[in-house]
Symmetry: D3
Subunit: 272 residues, 6 copies
Amino acid sequence: MTTTKKPFKRLLLTGAAGGLGKVLRERIKPWADVVRLSDIGDMGEAGEGEEIFQADLADKQAVLKMVEGVDAILHFGGISTENTFENIMFANIQGTYNIYEAAHRHGVKRIVFASSNHAIGFYPQTQVIDADDPPRPDSMYGISKVFGEQLSRYYFDRTGIETVCLRIGSSFPSVNNPRMMCTWLSYDDLLEALRVSLLTPRVGHTILFGASNNKRQWWDNRKAAHLGFQPKDSSEQFRADVPETGEYPPEDDATFNYHGGKFIFDGPMYKD
Amino acid sequence: MTTTKKPFKRLLLTGAAGGLGKVLRERIKPWADVVRLSDIGDMGEAGEGEEIFQADLADKQAVLKMVEGVDAILHFGGISTENTFENIMFANIQGTYNIYEAAHRHGVKRIVFASSNHAIGFYPQTQVIDADDPPRPDSMYGISKVFGEQLSRYYFDRTGIETVCLRIGSSFPSVNNPRMMCTWLSYDDLLEALRVSLLTPRVGHTILFGASNNKRQWWDNRKAAHLGFQPKDSSEQFRADVPETGEYPPEDDATFNYHGGKFIFDGPMYKD
Amino acid sequence: MTTTKKPFKRLLLTGAAGGLGKVLRERIKPWADVVRLSDIGDMGEAGEGEEIFQADLADKQAVLKMVEGVDAILHFGGISTENTFENIMFANIQGTYNIYEAAHRHGVKRIVFASSNHAIGFYPQTQVIDADDPPRPDSMYGISKVFGEQLSRYYFDRTGIETVCLRIGSSFPSVNNPRMMCTWLSYDDLLEALRVSLLTPRVGHTILFGASNNKRQWWDNRKAAHLGFQPKDSSEQFRADVPETGEYPPEDDATFNYHGGKFIFDGPMYKD
Amino acid sequence: MTTTKKPFKRLLLTGAAGGLGKVLRERIKPWADVVRLSDIGDMGEAGEGEEIFQADLADKQAVLKMVEGVDAILHFGGISTENTFENIMFANIQGTYNIYEAAHRHGVKRIVFASSNHAIGFYPQTQVIDADDPPRPDSMYGISKVFGEQLSRYYFDRTGIETVCLRIGSSFPSVNNPRMMCTWLSYDDLLEALRVSLLTPRVGHTILFGASNNKRQWWDNRKAAHLGFQPKDSSEQFRADVPETGEYPPEDDATFNYHGGKFIFDGPMYKD
Amino acid sequence: MTTTKKPFKRLLLTGAAGGLGKVLRERIKPWADVVRLSDIGDMGEAGEGEEIFQADLADKQAVLKMVEGVDAILHFGGISTENTFENIMFANIQGTYNIYEAAHRHGVKRIVFASSNHAIGFYPQTQVIDADDPPRPDSMYGISKVFGEQLSRYYFDRTGIETVCLRIGSSFPSVNNPRMMCTWLSYDDLLEALRVSLLTPRVGHTILFGASNNKRQWWDNRKAAHLGFQPKDSSEQFRADVPETGEYPPEDDATFNYHGGKFIFDGPMYKD
Amino acid sequence: MTTTKKPFKRLLLTGAAGGLGKVLRERIKPWADVVRLSDIGDMGEAGEGEEIFQADLADKQAVLKMVEGVDAILHFGGISTENTFENIMFANIQGTYNIYEAAHRHGVKRIVFASSNHAIGFYPQTQVIDADDPPRPDSMYGISKVFGEQLSRYYFDRTGIETVCLRIGSSFPSVNNPRMMCTWLSYDDLLEALRVSLLTPRVGHTILFGASNNKRQWWDNRKAAHLGFQPKDSSEQFRADVPETGEYPPEDDATFNYHGGKFIFDGPMYKD
């Protein structure tokens, strides 16, 4: 009986109790002998081939231990929707710094950083952009994602740690509004984006937009063609749920104006 | 018994008696309860779901009435081949102004403007262009198309009317020369281009090149990826009629030199 | 006694009774043995070295005669402020066509076309542009200037007539508002722009922005460096008349938002 | 007796006890009736036309009070050299957020953000860049400056607060190494950069490189030409102190390899 | 019985005894009545529809005869791996000059020049390039290929001879390392690239990258879309032979750093 | 008594008996204790601080000796006008290779390569270019200059030898035709270009256009701003000798069509 060798001995997934973390937990098992799962929240029992490491990303010493002995990191941890600046600062800004500094100290060579379309969410939906267009964050959350992209650029220039910043669109089981017809990223395509990000021999510091093979596209991935990400799914399967009508949206409806959709109005800006 | 709601209540098609107008007349019916047909020439009887409005586009008052009550406009009217400047000025320049001003006054929000490859016809066939390359019209006709593109840009900036300028290649039943192997736009693909132009929630002011999925391409549509136009047909089906030979064309044969083909010599320039 | 040979035998200046026409009438005399002056309005008596040719630019036969025998043309004629579309169409669109067609028939090789900043007037004042940025007209007047730029591009590609399109900023004796601190073109610098446009051996089809050497600049002339236009004056001489204050303009004040200033609200759009 | 009205009633200068803060304290007095000075450190007595407001930028409530009643802000506060990430996070990241949120709540319309060449310090000295080139921070300090640039972009898109991000080179009394021959910004030119940033009617969100009129230049300011920043001084006055030799620097000497000079090795990365 | 006319009467293939020459010898027969085969080495007997012309490309008189009477040339001759500069100079630099000068004298209108990825081999594998990116040769061999590209540009500008420079990736029967997963060009796709290069009516001077439809791509062919090259094969068929592992290559392993792979260390630089 | 230390101990000037070589021979003496002069022709007696080394650049062993012990090289040798390909190949292609290989073996770190406007001579005079525009050589001579630019790029990537490619315009005592009004490079400005190329601490591989501060400019040096080349002279001093007339040049007069002027017709192409 033969067994295929898995690419990695130990892979770290942060944010394992989050929405996408739960999706990934089972699916990435074929890539590593051991998947170390980390979250600030409860992750249940460790399954076979799993290690559970519950910690706050803002806790530097905990993160140092968390990263020890891993070959590569899928950094999905932190707050994944709009929140107060302070909460986001600790979870996403300090948390991501802790991950990179720990990776540097332990010699981890590759990180996939779960960035977001909200890093460029203030672009109008009538403008197609690529990875060289400057960020235009649409929220505190989006700003923290741009921070992670810049921090990882620095760590690449300074220490050689390679990162793929995956600007995830809308990764959900299905589509329920016109914006998601553009931004939808199926779970299978998310997996494929992570797979090529981990397994391409050299990635340097690459920004990859994460959308499925949808008909309408706001994001041009040609600067990342060296990764070979070729999504297979299409939001057209949900067309019946999102019928095309001739009723044009009001001009002040953010959902139809910006890449980031209504996120720009979700902010805490006027609230505390 | 259920009936699907059509996207529009009333759609205006100008140039309904022209070559493409006749092609579109039947095919766009599924998009609107009523299709209002307009032309300076005879359009026959109004069929079911049709309104006939015969008028000269240069007649401002007539156009004001023509546009009243419509949700969106497919502006295919005017002169569609080379002609004297004066004729083109009245039919295409004044006519298009009348359409936009009427649309503005009646609150029409979306227009698809039938522009043409002759707006960029003086580019050499060895240069691939996209929507940001400056116009290079090849004829009085082409100049009038650039005028329409600029006028619609102004109306978008000034009033918010959204326009897709569709730079139509060669939309005919079949292909009969090497240039059309690049420029051919099948009727089905023309329909699809119009459909996405009408139904995409936000289009702003977008220039879309209209060619089928032909092998050789002079026009790069990536600036219009937000429309999701994906042509299905290919001119390769006519390859047998346009055999590839090693007999290279003479250097002064415009058909093989310019995107616009022999149009540059069709002009009235030396004639009146 | 020796006399220096003047560069041209006969130079045509259209729009000679207009604001800039009057400024140029005397100043261009050193460039030609005879200056032919044309306008629809009264130009007074012909002075020494002058020919008076009163005509409507929309009159094709008159323009044909007007252009006969001239070496080069400074085309300043037509309507120079916002007006109804129809008036602008006849004076600026048909008029400019008549000039180019007449130039073609009579073998005139060089035209300087008085274009305008209103061809790009809808750009925001916080964006620096160059000649490759697409036009964004701010008015019917601006649209007619874009028309002239495109028409002259066509005549260059088709017949070889060379044109410099001079996008004139604000050419007045002095400056009286903050926008003009950017857009001011002194009469001396206007003359120099015309001089290099006429005397550079090859100009092809070049777009030249016409502003003096003002501190703030919205227009980058580097695509026209082959003309060698080096303005000498600066709007800083009028700084005392336009004091800098910390009172920021309201967001909806077009004067401070767009290259074209308040022109966008001068239009006839809502008036007839 | 007449007095010239000063542009602002109240101007806030943060970081007033820092190196550049002390330089600016006296020099910006002509711009405002009252200059409010803020720092975490001691600023001495308030002089005429001065208000002293000692506070920690990381203290949100204090910053809210600090910003109340000011017309515009020169944000020079925070840590201005490399330091631990945590220190920089509180002083520069949280501190700058507090400034912008306070500005938003109090309706402040204009901020000049003291960014730094260390936001782009990892570019090689043989590459000339402009404001559209992506950031390449060279340190934790540099990362915090990129954060401020992105945060201010967000506040502009979301609330309309205008910011000039001034990427200051080396603003010191004199020059003492070859890198500073490129990066030197005299105090007078710094003042002029701040002046145009405050007084230009519209600045939107603009990135301005801050170097004097030195012969060698790594930074191309043409995207900010609308500000009219024209430095007058030149590092050539210090040429005698920095003689040009033919002894080429070793390849691994960061001082001669990167825009940011030896900063990349100043980091705390290996130290705590 | 009818026979289809072949596109060319006589086609010249240089380098016919080389690796790719042997592959092409049989496959290009359908394109010409006679294929003239040339090489410095032995080519065996002439088959049906073949002419054998053994010669040294550095021999100008021989090349003049070799080119006489041919309609188009596939120039695959010369040294195809790294070698001493002198050997490469005679075979590739002088040889290619002789071919072009002979083509010019005999009125040959079209040449396909077998250029190489080694013309741009010093680009990092994390950078996607297109035909407008400047060459970065990785070897003496690569320099000779850039020479041929520049020489053919000159002959096109000066004489009108059209050339497609095909920058061949790795054209072998199969793939055996990770770099070839990107660079592989199947023989069928090579044939198709040659076919469109020969049969497109106008090609001017075009640079075409030659890779199959592999998932990962370093080379963006959109500037050559007018040729209609659409590769059909994919290196994924060899995936089993080149398993993806999580063992990242050492930073100094050229095979994983540069487009050109280990070629940069194959050079004779340190050897003679 | 003090003496200022010269930047270099030994500087090699190739082509010392050529037109510019003679100009430079005296003027570069302040830069080095010893100037080694090389040429294939007679250079007279060695003056103080001079070494004479007569050799053929095509002689590899001679060049190896020639380069021994020098700190930097001004490579002006080879054929400097149009000639047969073979002559140019040996003198300019093989000769430049020999220089670089010798520099590599002897550890020379910096070379200034006398390239030429004929490397880009086929651009039209109405197009302003910069260092990123692809070469368009206008002659065999121009092709050899592009070769040198590419070879030096390779040696920089492979070995770290830094090169400034100085694309010299027309470096003569005076100006006698309209083209030279654009291309003139005074001897003083030539000296300054060489000085900054030698003394800038890091130059990498930089292309610098060599023209004086003439009014009309075809070449934009902003990609080389890190060198700080600021020419002082202007061709306007010769304006009286090159009067501006309104007599436009014939369309087929290369002198007025191409950057390279009549060089394109100087070639040996039709002669042997």
